[in-house]
Symmetry: C2
Subunit: 214 residues, 2 copies
Amino acid sequence: MVFKKVSRIKIPEATIRRLSLYDRCLEELQRSGKRIVSSSDIARKCGTNPAQIRKDFAYFGEFGVRGVGYYVENLQKDIKRALGIDRSWNCALVGAGNLGFALLGTDSLAKRGFKISAIFERDPILVEMGSFQDIPLFGMDDMQRVVSEFGIKIGIIAVSPENALKVAHSLIDAGVKGILNFTPTTIKVPPGAILKNVDFAIDLEGIAFQMSSD
Amino acid sequence: MVFKKVSRIKIPEATIRRLSLYDRCLEELQRSGKRIVSSSDIARKCGTNPAQIRKDFAYFGEFGVRGVGYYVENLQKDIKRALGIDRSWNCALVGAGNLGFALLGTDSLAKRGFKISAIFERDPILVEMGSFQDIPLFGMDDMQRVVSEFGIKIGIIAVSPENALKVAHSLIDAGVKGILNFTPTTIKVPPGAILKNVDFAIDLEGIAFQMSSD
DNA sequence: ACGTGTGAAGCATTTCACAGCG
DNA sequence: CGCTGTGAAATGCTTCACACGT
């Protein structure tokens, strides 16, 4: 196996998203006892095409064996390494409302190496509780201190839209480099910081569009 | 204003997503009292570029006035019409867990014309409650009947991953044509039906990737 | 013989630059 | 004159087809 040290080559966003998908599929394939898979196997499982999969891998190195296929276990390691999830990421959740609790309730974050190590909340009554599910709860004023003490790298914004911008700026000021924003608010981050938006209303509108123009 | 009847021209997915964004920005601009905007105004507000905005609009018609700009109110109507959200969509929520409640707790769905008119849940004890926030609660067995009686067009899957596939098939069988899937499960739908996935773990992995290869 | 890895072709989307029109 | 609307150029992504290694 050869793992290219990719740094200055530009990799399509879509490739990264697909790698995450492949990783999931591999987990299932591994559970079902498969040791070796071909690009067509993966393609069938996750609804892409084999050539695309091979191209996606090729950005990062040669993960397979010609004439044979991919060793599932190795491939998974390689993908995780390529994605940067071969380790744990310290995250903070901002906003202890319905959505925040929903995020904590699911294990899909923890399972993929994203650890929520602090929660920030505006409402003093909630903060008074001190912690939630063993995760310490802080007021907004503690953000600067806690982010640096805990080594928090990623902030998850799950507050109401009106407060999203302020929260984003506080996070950036506190030194957070990556933000996942669940509010329908346009946020701008300085160069070097990374922002991604999760906005299911947009997806619903996409569905509405396709259903209208069938 | 000219509104093209677009039907057989293929419009990029990305264009549709951006139209949703523009629509949001316009709401803000309108609240701030602006009557007329230029493509650069919108671009500044939502972080795209003017040429792209004009191109996006051009798929659907001529929404602006040369030398002047766009009348905010008209433009919003045109965009909503283009997206197919100039009316209300009947939706069903499947899964009354944390995530489901979080979705109900936000007004961002209702505000954009997506009305949740029924909830389906597996746990009989919850179903026993009969309704939640005035929205009727049903068991899974009632899906076929309720979907057709209520005229439900879109299903939102917020159950645990293990049950997602079964739920998706039930929805399709019941006649639902659009599905928004919140679980990390690969679902396949028959041609004619539309599926979109919301998967924030993938977005987090995208952040992790960029932060690793800075 | 088989399935990966990869240049090249094909296709889609974005950006440019300017004509057109109020 | 200013800003939209739009063909044409540039860029980016996906698919093809075959060489390569086992």
